[in-house]
């Protein structure tokens, strides 16, 4: 074991040596510095290794041959080893990244950098208060020096503000230190902890001054203008180190010093952290510049760390795990991000569109964004999970709200930024170059993120249960992204097929049903992918990522697995959606609603988790505390995915603008994930000992209104895919409503709709998508008469809409018939009437779909379009075959389903007698009706065909037109604003209240951020004033009353 004192010794020694040996040149100095940093890393990591894999115990290192309080001592414990390893690793990588930047400034820059890293190490390890002050000042001075490696006025201004602010903070620490010494006679932290400093007034003030200094070092909102400026103004390579290493050191300093005050300060720290976390992230929302945005985010993360520290009593033993996850993710991802900013020299967020010129950089950025927001498989995901679970278990609900709100605000700006990077117009004439010494550290960090994420999961028992195989498959597909689409598609399909084959035997009932929808549906929609040419870069990994998440949902046995799958699915679908041409804003709103929904689910699970002995999904069935809240939050979370009214505004754009084969994926398949969640929650509610009927009642109304507004909005769409998207909203409303009925019939209806919607919406979206590919427009009024060009597509749409509309004999009617029975049995008449009325409204948009696209007048420019691609026709007709079987023999599916539902809903209200179904009030036979109608239809058709066999085939303008001839197909085709009359009657129902509300909310957040951030006037003096006022205010809040 190398004593940690050698970290200090080596750094100082080499620093002096460089000064002496300076003539040997800059590169020599640089390499020597890197070697020293490597040595420092080695020392600290050796200790870390010993702590975690050996049985090393914490060790004090004494200096000058005396014991404290006479001399200074350092402590090397597991935490110190961890922190200093982090600092040294970042220091080393930062040294590599900044090698030439330092070089340009001369060898002294290396010395300063070395001293900087060393001083942070000492801040971590020292147990002496004054020594802490000294090395804090050294690190400040070094920082101020290193800021100047960036050229320009901005860096100088930032440096000045920084040095004066930190000097004042250090002064306060010094005053506190001396008072502490005055009252206890020792400068050793351990002695101070043992002493009863807080019992005297003077001691209280001393503690206050020490802690306030430590808090101010954490850059609390709003007294942190100087910190922001440093992050923004200094060189990005160095900002990264400040953000990662200094922040780590500051956090640990606060952690150490907090012991002096005992637990009395926890609450204040938590509140300060919360204010900082939310405040910084709120202001970040309004930010347009990449560097400053990262600055806000860094400060937000510091706030989160303070929050965690303040809530340590809630966390108990898990504190280190949570801190580890959050800190590590932030450190790796934020550092990488800062360095990325340094490479991609784009100032505003919109200019970041240039990053996609090098797709690998986009991948890096995506990794960082998702890691920072806390998506799996990154460490922050597991940390956040544990954090929230522990908070809920100890009743910290307000804190959960705070954390999730702050994280949500963070998600807003990060995903907006990422959206710009992926989709904003790239018409900038500047580019960026990559040099190996800059990119290597970033790649290392990214790899570390993934590896540590995996290890973090393996660290806990729950995490070990997660199935990472699909995720590895995703990574493999990422690696194979250079292959042409045909091979990748085949690999993806085979992969999914094999996976399904192996997983099939282990599933039954509900899980099997949804797995079939997810996997078989996935394979079918992937087949359509063969229609694409070229590489289709980046499509397959993200598509499989979504399916990995979906199957993860099904396989989940524990709540963590479930949430893991949910988040993977969200991430994958986000990438799929953002691939669409004009998808940027829609993908953002999708993501934000998804994140909000996921947080609601997280909160719901955390409440459900209270007082449970197990972590399996069955806790949903037995929620013991606040069941209304738990189920309410869970349902809300799931309903964001099913796009219920009010939170549906993301769907039309997201589905409408997505690629042709992505729309069915995200509509027919992905939405079912939300349904699956709703079902799980409802199963739980049915088994709950509490009376939750008010919740299902509300859910029923939500479903009914969703149907109404979804369908009515669909009627007035001009964009075919948006029409289908609104139709999906309506259909999901049916499903939610049916499940909310909570009877056997209701659930049977719900499942019928699930199966139906999967099939016909996949058919419709695939067909319309394929048509769009052929005709090159989404606008229905630009199409028309395509039945002549693509009859097979027409037949598919015809069967699809007939089925969707619920006209007998196709399977849509199965759902309608069950619906009537279920509604009347339950007694939800008014909701039922709304739902049935909407069924009538559905006809309008369905007719519009088929009329304006396939019937009417063929447009001139579509005269030569071909039938839709065979690769689309295969899945379409496979699904149609399924639809027809389900229509002709509904009992094959419904009977087993009814038996399955009987497990959850005991009352047996449907009786099957062969093909005949009987309920208490009605009867019906799918096969009989199909046969009767079929034969009548056939007979009439043959007769008519026979009698008109000599018919003349005529063309599109051979119509009676009041004696005139039509001028153009465009002016003869009834399509645009087709339901103008109906609009005049129902316009009050089409007012987009939800959109207005969310726009208003967005405006509110932005205005609030825009107003608040004016405190950062840029004037250094104002920042000083903030610090002083902050101290004064905090003084009165914390100890003012006790003096």
């Amino acid at each position: 074991m190398v004593s940690p004192i050698y970290i200090v010794a080596a750094a100082l020694g080499v620093g002096f040596a460089i000064g002496v040996l300076g003539k040997l040149g800059k590169n020599f100095s640089g390499i020597l510095t890197l070697l020293t940093l490597g040595f420092m890393t080695y020392v600290s990591s050796e200790w870390l290794y010993a702590f975690y894999f050996g049985d090393q115990v914490s060790t004090y290192v004494f200096t000058a041959g005396y014991k404290p309080p006479i001399s200074i001592n350092l402590l090397m414990g597991p935490q110190e080893a961890f922190m200093s390893t982090l600092i040294n690793v970042i220091g080393l990588l930062g040294g590599i990244y900044l090698f030439f930047n330092f070089g340009r400034k001369g060898r002294n820059a290396f010395v300063v950098y070395l001293v900087f890293i060393m001083s942070l190490n000492v801040v971590i390890m020292t147990r002496d208060l004054f020594n802490l002050f000294v090395f804090l000042e050294i690190s400040s001075i070094a920082t101020a020096g290193l800021i100047l490696i960036e050229k320009g006025n901005r860096a100088v201004g930032a440096g000045f503000k920084y040095i004066i602010a930190t000097s004042i903070i250090s002064s306060i620490l010094l005053i506190g230190t001396i008072f502490a010494y005055f009252y206890t006679g020792s400068l050793n932290i351990d002695d101070l902890v043992k002493s009863d400093l807080t019992t005297t007034t003077g001691g209280l003030i001393a503690v206050f001054l020490i802690l306030i200094a430590a808090i101010l070092e954490m850059k609390p909102f709003p007294a942190n203008g100087w910190g922001l400026d440093v992050y923004e103004g200094s060189h990005q390579g160095f900002s990264a180190v400040v953000s990662a290493a200094t922040a780590t050191a500051s956090y640990f300093m606060l952690y150490k010093l907090l012991d002096i005050a005992g637990n009395s300060w926890d609450h204040y720290i938590a509140v300060i952290g919360a204010v900082t976390f939310i405040g910084a992230n709120l202001l970040g929302v309004k930010q347009k510049f990449a560097r400053r945005l990262l600055a806000y985010s860094s400060i937000g993360q510091l706030g989160l760390l303070m929050l965690i520290l303040g809530l340590r009593t809630y966390l108990g033993d898990n504190l280190n795990y949570v801190v580890f996850g959050i800190l590590l993710t932030n450190l790796l991802a934020k550092t990488g991000f800062f360095w990325l900013v340094g490479i991609v020299k784009a100032k505003t967020l919109k200019e970041w569109a240039i990053i996609r010129r090098k797709p690998f950089f986009l991948f890096l950025m995506g990794t960082f964004v998702f890691a920072l927001i806390g998506f799996p498989p990154f460490p922050s995901f597991f940390a956040k999970w544990t954090f929230v679970m522990d908070l809920a278990a100890n009743g910290g609900f307000v804190w959960i709200a705070v954390i999730l709100t702050g994280s949500f605000l963070e998600a807003i700006y990060y995903f907006r930024w990422f959206g710009y990077a992926v989709k904003a117009d790239d018409n900038y004439n500047f580019s960026f170059n990559v040099r190996w010494h800059k990119i290597t550290p970033i790649i290392l960090l990214t790899a570390l993120l993934y590896i540590i994420g995996y290890l973090t999961a393996q660290h806990t028992e729950l995490g070990r249960m997660i199935n990472f195989i699909p995720l590895f498959f995703v990574l493999i597909l990422f690696a194979l992204d250079f292959l042409p689409v045909f091979i990748k598609n085949t690999i993806a399909i085979i992969g999914m097929g094999i996976y399904f084959y192996f997983i099939y035997p282990s599933l039954s009932d509900l899980k099997l049903l949804f797995e079939v929808i997810f996997m078989i549906g996935g394979i079918l929609t992937l087949i359509a992918g063969y229609a694409y040419k070229g590489k289709r870069s980046g499509f397959y990994p993200v598509a499989i990522l979504m399916y990995a998440g979906l199957t993860g949902l099904i396989e989940a046995n524990t709540t963590l697995q479930f949430f893991f799958g949910w988040e993977l699915m969200t991430a994958g679908s986000y990438f799929l959606i953002i691939r669409g041409k004009r998808s940027m804003p829609h993908a953002l709103s999708y993501m934000l609603f998804s994140v909000a929904g996921a947080y609601a689910i997280l909160a719901g699970i955390s409440i459900a988790n209270i007082g449970q002995l197990t972590t399996s999904l069955s806790i949903f069935n037995n929620i013991q505390y606040f069941p209304q809240w738990a189920y309410g939050l869970l349902l809300f979370g799931f309903l964001t995915k099913t796009a219920s009214v009010g939170i549906h505004i993301w769907l039309p754009g997201a589905h409408g603008e997505a690629e042709s084969d992505v729309s069915p994926m995200v509509s027919a398949i992905l939405l079912k994930a939300g349904v699956y969640g709703v079902i799980l929650a409802l199963i739980g509610m049915s088994k709950s000992q509490y009376d939750l009927s008010s919740l299902t009642y509300i859910l029923g109304w939500v479903g009914a209104l969703t149907v109404l507004f979804g369908n009515i909005s669909a009627v007035f769409q001009e964009d075919a895919k948006r029409l289908l998207a609104y139709s999906s909203i309506g259909q999901l409303g049916y499903i939610v409503f049916a499940f909310a009925i909570m009877t056997q019939l209701g659930w049977l209806t719900g499942f019928t709709y699930v199966i139906n919607h999967f099939m016909y919406k996949a058919v419709l979206f695939l067909t319309i998508g394929a048509v769009v590919l052929r005709v090159g427009t989404h606008n229905m009024y630009e199409m028309g008469g395509l039945i002549k060009r693509m009859p097979l597509a027409f037949v598919a749409v015809l069967i699809g809409i007939t089925s969707l509309s619920g006209v007998p004999p196709l399977s849509g009617f199965t759902g309608k018939w069950l619906f009537y029975n279920a509604v009347i049995e339950k007694g939800w008449y008014f909701q039922g009437v709304i739902v049935f009325l909407s069924g009538g409204v559905a006809f309008l948009y369905l007719f519009r779909l088929i009329q304006t696209i396939f019937l009417g007048q063929l447009k001139d420019n579509h005269r030569n379009v071909k039938e839709i691609s065979i690769w689309f026709l295969i899945p379409i007709y496979t699904l149609l075959a399924g639809l027809m079987v389900f229509s002709a023999r509904p009992q094959w599916v419904l009977q087993p389903l009814g038996d399955m539902i009987a497990n959850y809903m005991p009352q047996n209200s449907i009786r099957w007698d062969g093909a005949y179904a009987y309920t208490a009030i009605g009867h019906w036979t799918g096969s009989g009706v199909m046969m009767t109608i079929g034969s009548v239809f056939l007979i009439v058709f043959l007769i008519l065909k026979l009698s008109t066999r000599k018919a003349h085939k005529i063309k599109q303008f051979d119509i009676v037109y009041s004696g005139e001839r039509p001028d153009r197909p465009d002016t003869t085709h009834v399509a645009y604003n087709m339901y103008a009359g109906f609009y005049k009657a129902v316009w009050p129902l089409t007012v987009p209240l939800a959109e207005r509300f969310w726009n208003w909310m967005t405006e509110l957040v932005h205005e609030a951020a825009g107003f608040t951030r004016r405190i950062y006037s840029g004037n250094g003096q104002a920042y000083m004033l903030h610090i002083v006022l902050y101290i004064i205010v905090l003084f009165f809040i914390t100890i003012g009353s006790s003096i």
């Binding site: 050294i138 100088v156 201004g157 503000k161 001396i178 010494y181 840029g1018 004037n1019 250094g1020 000083m1024």
Partner: protein, 126 residues
């Protein structure tokens, strides 16, 4: 007036200087004046440190002829607390370093915009 011994007077002076320093930092627009205010603050803190270590009637913790040598070489009862004295030396050094850095920054700032008004350096804001 017997409370107003040397220790307390210097303590008071230290606080007054600290407050003057803060006042200067917050009110002066000129960067040089701010730096001067900072040194005043620094000085105040140093005086504070020393005065807290002061014990009436004892001498400086420098063991030379002026210190009465007691038995067993025990000088502890005749000198003031040595720790603050040691601290203040370090503090002065650090204060010196910071001041030097601040002045260097002042120079750079002046070169950048030919002015020393602190409110001119607000390129980074919001």
């Amino acid at each position: 007036m017997e409370y107003l011994n040397l220790g307390k007077i210097s303590l008071l002076i230290g606080f007054i200087l600290i407050i003057i320093g803060f006042w200067g930092i917050l009110s002066q627009k000129n960067i040089i004046k701010i730096i001067v205010s900072f040194t005043i603050l620094d000085t105040g803190i140093n005086i504070l440190i020393v005065s807290l270590g002061y014990i009436k009637g004892r001498t400086a913790p420098i063991i030379d002829a002026s210190v009465p040598q007691l038995a067993d070489h025990n000088v502890l009862n005749s000198i003031v607390d040595p720790v603050p004295q040691a601290l203040v030396l370090t503090a002065i050094v650090i204060g010196f370093g910071v001041t030097a850095l601040l002045l260097a920054y002042a120079m750079k700032l002046f070169k950048a915009k030919r002015t020393l008004e602190i409110n001119q350096f607000n390129d980074l804001k919001w």
